[in-house]
Symmetry: C2
Subunit: 430 residues, 2 copies
């Protein structure tokens, strides 16, 4: 049974804070293990990566196996059905069309003093995209990572995907091909992150690593941050559905189940102004779960992490949504635009009764790599800007330098950096 | 003596790689110490912050002293000279005018299928800006952090500044007042980062922490990343000057000294096509250093970390610049625009003979919090976007959901997420 809260009850604040602070991942002490793996990969390169991969993924690879050959990619891709191929192409095309609009423009101008100021965007040279393997395969995540990188102008797009037991999804390989990935390595875990960050004989070093992963991958990303850029430290996925009496309980139940079936701590929360809807949704979740082929994970997730919260008004719902700062927020309302401006912290917002979160996972066009674990308070979903960086340009002529001299030299003196002031004055003393 | 390299010599590549990989900071094993400090602040709040502050900063504070009162800020501000006040105001106004142009615009549109897609930007609610104290005071860093935060619409802008021996710079307090800082805490080190990230009785919790700091601050930022956002893990400052025969050796020398006087591993590198200029600059650095009031730090930095590299062409200089990916790049050339497009990795570029890097530190208008330690390969200087986040909006109607159904359900099945597919189909089965 999910937790049930009512904002009118006297212990609500306490229960809500407990819900917010609840741990959804086993807090694993993996930092030391990961540090040792990174040190090993830096020292021994391919030898370490091969050993660790064979140990954790139960494979029998040599260094020559680490990078998947173009021939293997082509052979595997050819096995994918036309239906799946078309679906991947649709996802690719829609994600590309939307992300194209994120491309920034340079801006260079001269101000009234004659100083030229500019902002120039350039792509990162090489990026690594981590795609989890194992229980499930995620071709959609390949597209969500590679398409914005390609649009940004990244030259090398490397994919790391673990292949437990040596199995690799043909659909993942086809997705990589469609999305413009330039290299695919069958490696995972902290050893994959270390190899991408520092390079080995076989694995080309990249400048930035993005994508979700387990606790080892997250710890490794944290430790290599600085050596390379990273997108975020990802946690379990989550959805918050805000619904009023206009919502269809069966549809809401389906969305809550869709989130819970990710497992691994994924969380589904319903906030509603209608107690009747809350009851009906809970009953519907039970009913639909019993019809789901792989119901165990979803049921366990719903029972352990699910929550149903009744509130007095949509304003109250929006206030709670901002405190939860959920990765996904659904507004299951006839007129979602009314409360949209009040929801300030969310990775993505899905508006109206006909926008289930799952449509955004695949073919909506927006990115599905989104901030989790309340990080929508400060972070954004993956996009083109994650694969670019901004350089400032500044140009003075003698007149504008002279006009700025006094203020600059005064501040340099305050900061006891005389050499700074002198580097300005020396150009004007003549 | 700085290291001298010539790109034509047979061992150049080896020496250059050694220069790139050289450690400029004592590699301190501070991770465990910092973890203990963070845990202590989380557990004991103000008590821990007060104890740690008094221990490290040699003060005698109680919890009531941690936050600087508006009266103290006003009193201190009143003591600042009119000249310094005017210089701060100039810096503020120019930084504000430039950063205003970085404000993003929302973009919401409907595609051919009738799907509404949107990108909406909102400010972070509360940010913390760390400003180093101690040897020097940095009012300019207060402005560089707070102005873009204020422009972004951040409601709470908290400043943390350590006050060794209880001393605080009146200019820092005035800068904070001018820039719109809402709270100032006299705390530093890992305890300041922990207090901002988790909150204490006195220190308000923030959502993101930015600004430079020492090894303890950097380690603390790395450890709290996820709980809050951070800008980067900062290292020592650095400049790369690219000059040809048109450059004035005395001016270049002054710029190299200005960088070296930061100390703490700051690095100055000259890359030039003219051996004669290289010699003249080295001689000028010696001469000017002997005239600098506080020459010890600058001389030590130049001797230990400085480098002069002669190359055959400006193309070669640009290629080296991209490998160095320096925080600051000066193009001391008559026509810097010729090689500007070839310099892809740099925090900021200063163009022409009359744009010393120091002008950008104070009153150029661009930000001086820039990526260090080769991170310009993937990171940007501080700006308005660092204080905002992007939420995706998605809205389907029955027709567009129906149009996308097949591709989405197909991909959900490939990923073994049946519940995802069902959440789409259930809305269309009627």
């Amino acid at each position: 049974m999910p937790i049930r809260l009512d904002s009118a009850s006297s212990d609500f604040e306490q229960s809500f804070v407990a819900l917010l602070g609840g741990k959804r991942e086993a807090s694993q002490e993996v930092g030391d293990v990961v540090a040792a793996i990174i040190a090993d990969v830096r020292t021994r390169g391919d030898d370490a990566v091969v050993e660790l991969t064979n140990k954790f993924d139960h494979t029998h690879f040599t260094a020559a196996d680490l990078r998947i050959s173009p021939e293997e990619i082509d052979r595997a891709s050819a096995r994918v059905s036309d239906e799946v191929r078309a679906a991947l192409q649709t996802a690719h095309d829609r994600v590309k069309a939307h992300h194209e609009k994120q491309l920034p423009t340079d801006h260079i101008y001269q101000d009234a003093l004659g100083v030229t100021l500019g902002t120039r965007w350039t792509p990162v040279d090489a990026v690594g995209i981590y795609v989890p393997g194992g229980l499930a395969t995620y071709p959609s995540t390949v597209i969500m990572g590679a398409v914005p990188a390609k649009l940004a102008g990244v030259g090398r797009i490397a994919l790391a995907v673990p292949t437990p037991g040596g199995q690799i999804s043909a659909v993942v390989l086809l997705a990589a091909k469609i999305a413009g990935v330039t290299e695919i390595y069958r490696i995972g875990g902290a050893q994959a992150i270390a190899a991408l960050a520092y390079g080995t004989e076989t694995v080309g070093r990249v400048d930035k690593i993005v994508g979700p992963g387990n606790a080892y991958v997250a710890a490794a990303k944290r430790q290599v941050f600085g050596q390379v850029g990273i997108d975020s430290i990802a946690g379990p996925s989550e959805v918050l559905v805000i619904a009023d009496g206009s919502a269809n309980p069966a549809w809401i139940a389906a969305d809550l189940i869709a989130q819970a079936e990710h497992g691994g701590g994924a969380q589904s929360i319903l906030v509603t102004t209608e107690k009747g809807l809350a009851d009906a949704v809970e009953a519907e979740v039970d009913r639909q779960l019993s019809l789901l082929p792989r119901q165990d994970i979803a049921r366990e997730g719903w029972d352990e992490f699910g929550a149903v919260i009744t509130v007095a008004s949509l304003d109250e719902a929006a206030a709670l949504a901002n405190r939860i700062a959920s990765e996904h927020v659904e507004l299951a309302l006839d007129d979602p635009d009314v409360i949209l401006p009040a929801i300030r912290h969310a990775g993505a917002i899905f508006l109206g009764h006909h926008t289930p979160e799952a449509i955004g996972d695949y073919v909506g066009g927006s990115n599905h790599v989104l901030p989790t674990a309340r990080s929508a308070r400060f972070a954004s979903g993956l996009g083109v800007l994650d694969f670019m960086k901004r350089t400032s340009l500044l140009r003075c002529d003698p007149a504008s330098l002279a006009a700025l001299r006094e203020a600059a030299v005064t501040l340099a003196e305050v900061e006891a950096l005389d050499g700074h002031g002198r580097s300005i004055s020396i150009r004007l003393n003549h």
